[in-house]
Symmetry: C2
Subunit: 529 residues, 2 copies
């Protein structure tokens, strides 16, 4: 018995080497749909900055901040301008709009690709490929400030030599087998929104570098309503997947800030977190099974059981592996019924510390909406500065709306220290959301929390999608911005924010950065820790 | 940047080799208490069967089933007898109480220990040890039917040669270092309730075998109320730990059926699940960090952060490793406030399929109490047969109490098919539990669910603690029993139960087992899958 048991445990630890996809037990499928996001439907993105090509924050001919294109219409009741923004960036960020730093007009010239002919011959049947310089440039980087800086003003040290587009799991198996056989380096590519340098080519790499773009593997393999599971190809993009799942009345509930561009495989490979993790969990809580093609075979668990206690779980090695162990091709997720009701909301607190204490209290009591994020005063003011031109009184800026006089004079909130928690409620019914609100308000009242309405809540989420567009706006005026995320214990939140700010000020001074850096903090709570 | 990143990821994957305990960053501790479970306080357990020595199911001088000792008093309002049980085992299980199979009176004779003198010399300073045959026997097995059978009627093929008792993490590091140096085999030992053969010594093992009993490492290292984390030594026993945490107003919420005996380290090493997983999660959801002493050093994460997305998570390799990779010495858990209100309850359904459908519905709607378990008809009747002698009308058997006539005649429930769901509610307040009940009843009503009261709920949990005592009762009469646990998708529950039953009938017939096997099923739901 003991020997058999040790065998079972060993098998768990050596699964990658043992399994190929043909061994996998198929899950019973209830519905099956091919949803495709064709190039024609997928709007083009910028080659040297964040996001859609048609969406750009700029100063219009009147010198007023405006957003090009037609996206995010719910934020713009009237014209697509933000009258307060320019003044705020000048006063608070110290940006001088005459001091411009425009990006290079043309793409850098790329060195000719290094081609491993045997490899290219071997894969000619299993994936389309391109040596196009534009494609090679697009696949050479992620979305950090440093990478966008290089796109705007310089070039990269290394570029992938070819970009390949597998269409299915078997293509990837063939690609990886050929890569092993002919000694080339593969870098998996999802939405290109990596902020961990996972797409950068290591300097010491001297094999042919192949960027494996997963975009064609964007299908839902199956949805099983009985087991509440769905299997999705790794190249599916967040918002496209959500749209497709919506049609079946289900949701994954994973909404990272990048969900307009990032992919299923990228979420798993980077252990992503999403805005609604309170309701649905982080990506590691949603993944039930996956397929990862490694140099020694495809790793997967033999069954997508809801839980297993028969040994170590190697799925947690794939989660967070950032492409260094293999290519994730399919992921099986728990799914949930689409919530019937979704509502935005917000609560004001007199200061950050009070807001944090309240967030901790809410978490301890389990009175936590699907999404709950606390913005510090800097970020709160930032959000106010982004207010669009109001099209109606209802759209007036939030401080006006909630009676500035009342907030600052009667409640004695200091505009220079007040903070806002933005909220998304999700529920099975109006009644459900109502009772969630009641539970929350009972606690926020104890922390001088002041209900601040849905618009302010919505604005918080708008800020999320705008943040990278604003970074690129800053680039135009010699201003650089970056965001960091981390996870700390509750009692470390305030000291950590203070330490990070201090360190940035010290480093900026030491490096001769002009002006005082603008540092703001946002807190998303997760577990009760 | 890419090189640095690959370095970070590699470090995650090679952590065991890199770290020793002296490198660990200490967590801020708010309270610190040494709680000890001395031998004097710990009641003795049986050497050849389940549980406490003073607790035994037997037929008294009147031939009536009775429970010895004074434990589980809340189940016995009057005398400690179960008048219906004997009739039930005779009629349903086909047990002939004249056909006895008493256990051996004496312990088996053990071969002399094989002693690696260099090892024993090396550890003389770091842990007490014993070559006592009684201790060697106690540490030679877990709690499977097969192991207890061997204890009662035979012997084991192999025994540990020595039992050692480390007192702290450093002791374990020294033990493991000595084991590596002198080539001995260590088997970690917690509560001895293993049902996966993890304590059995592999036949091919020819080194000295050392059972490492963790019982002295039963302290709470620290509790941090601010971060809602507690660090506990691996040898702490479930109920003792809960008692100690209670004093601080917090709970771990992990209650496996074995919690009277099993330990923290055992839970982690076996990926345990507990009765209240709906409220608190399974063990893998509760563990934030751990220390595991491996032959190449101590594995731990450098910080007990609430979450990390910086790479693969090797904690999931320790979880479920069943002692083959190292000895778990300390575990850091999330803790929760002790719930103010706890209530038992139960609901009857006309049949198993309806009960399952309702459980699935409850899970989908999130209307799930802390514990919710569905017993099939066989197990329901089993529970009824265990009813104690009633001391008051309130304690009458449940069918009487909830008006058998009403259930069977008006509601048309068939006593041969009806099933019961047993429930534990936990809440912050009476009001909280009340609203949980309301949400549950709204759904159960749609499945002909009938409220069946707290007593029946309590009985379900009594059954949990009694099950292994009853197995030993069966042994006395040539009757063998075992339980299996698994996790399947919702739509596989009924087919799997049927297949398992059928297979057992077929195998029993093929092996000439007398009588028809009694097979009953219980469903605990976890995720919505």
């Amino acid at each position: 018995m003991a020997d058999r048991r040790v065998g079972v445990l060993s098998a768990h630890l050596s699964a990658p080497a043992a399994t190929r996809s043909s061994d996998i037990v198929a899950c019973p499928t209830v519905s099956l749909k091919k949803f495709t996001t064709t190039r024609a439907r997928k709007p083009p993105t910028k080659w040297n900055g964040w996001g859609y090509e048609d969406t750009r924050l700029y100063l219009n001919q009147d010198g007023v901040a405006a957003l090009s294109g037609t996206r995010y219409p719910h934020i713009f009741p009237a014209r697509r301008i933000m009258p307060k923004f320019r003044g705020w960036v000048e006063d608070v960020l110290g940006i001088d709009i005459r001091n411009t730093s425009p990006a290079n007009r043309t793409k850098p010239e790329l060195p000719p690709p290094f081609v491993n002919k045997e490899f290219m011959d071997a894969i000619s049947d299993c994936a389309e490929s391109t040596f196009d310089d534009g494609a090679r440039l697009d696949h050479a980087h992620g979305a950090t400030c440093q990478e966008v800086f290089r796109l705007r003003y310089g070039s990269f040290d290394k570029y992938p030599d070819v970009v390949v587009f597998p269409s299915c799991h078997d293509d990837v198996e063939a690609l990886v087998a050929a890569a092993v056989k002919h000694d080339v380096c593969i870098i998996p590519f999802g939405g290109g929104t990596s902020v961990s340098a996972a797409l950068e080519i290591p300097e010491r790499e001297n094999r042919m570098v192949v960027s494996c773009d997963m975009k064609r593997m964007n299908h839902i393999c199956w949805i099983n309503h009985k087991t509440s599971l769905a299997c999705v190809e790794a190249g599916a993009v967040g918002i496209d997947l959500q749209e497709a799942l919506d049609a079946y009345g289900v949701t994954l509930g994973h909404e990272p800030d990048s969900s307009e561009f990032s992919t299923v495989g990228g979420w798993v490979a980077t252990r992503a977190s999403g805005m609604k993790k309170n309701a649905y969990g982080n990506i590691e809580d949603l993944v039930v099974n996956l397929k990862m093609v490694t140099p020694s075979g495809t790793f997967t668990k033999q069954a997508s059981a809801p839980r297993s206690s028969t040994g170590p779980d190697l799925t947690h090695i794939a989660l967070g592996s950032e492409g260094i162990l293999g290519i994730i091709t399919e992921v099986t997720f728990r799914i949930s019924p689409t919530p019937a009701v979704q509502e935005y909301d917000s609560v004001l607190f007199p200061d950050f510390e009070t807001g944090i204490a309240c967030m901790h209290h809410l978490t301890r009591e389990g009175a936590v909406p699907a999404a709950l994020r606390l913005q510090d005063n800097m970020q709160f003011q930032f959000g106010q500065a982004l207010s669009a031109e109001s099209g109606s009184p209802m759209r007036a800026s939030v401080i006006d709306k909630i009676k500035k006089y009342y907030v600052t004079q009667i409640k004695n909130f200091d505009p220079e220290s007040m903070v806002v928690a933005t909220i998304v409620y999700e529920g099975k019914s109006e009644q459900d959301v109502k009772s969630q609100k009641k539970a929350l308000e009972k606690i926020t009242a104890g922390y001088s929390g002041m209900h601040a309405g849905a618009e302010n809540g919505l604005k918080g989420y708008f800020l999320t999608y705008m943040i990278a567009y604003m970074r690129d706006f800053g680039f135009e005026f010699n201003f650089m911005a970056e965001s960091f995320e981390t996870s700390v214990a509750w009692d470390a939140v305030v000291p950590m924010c203070e330490s990070v700010k201090e360190r940035i000020f010290v480093e900026a001074a030491a490096r001769g950065v002009r002006g005082r850096p603008f540092v703001s903090c946002r807190l998303s709570q997760t577990y009760d820790t």
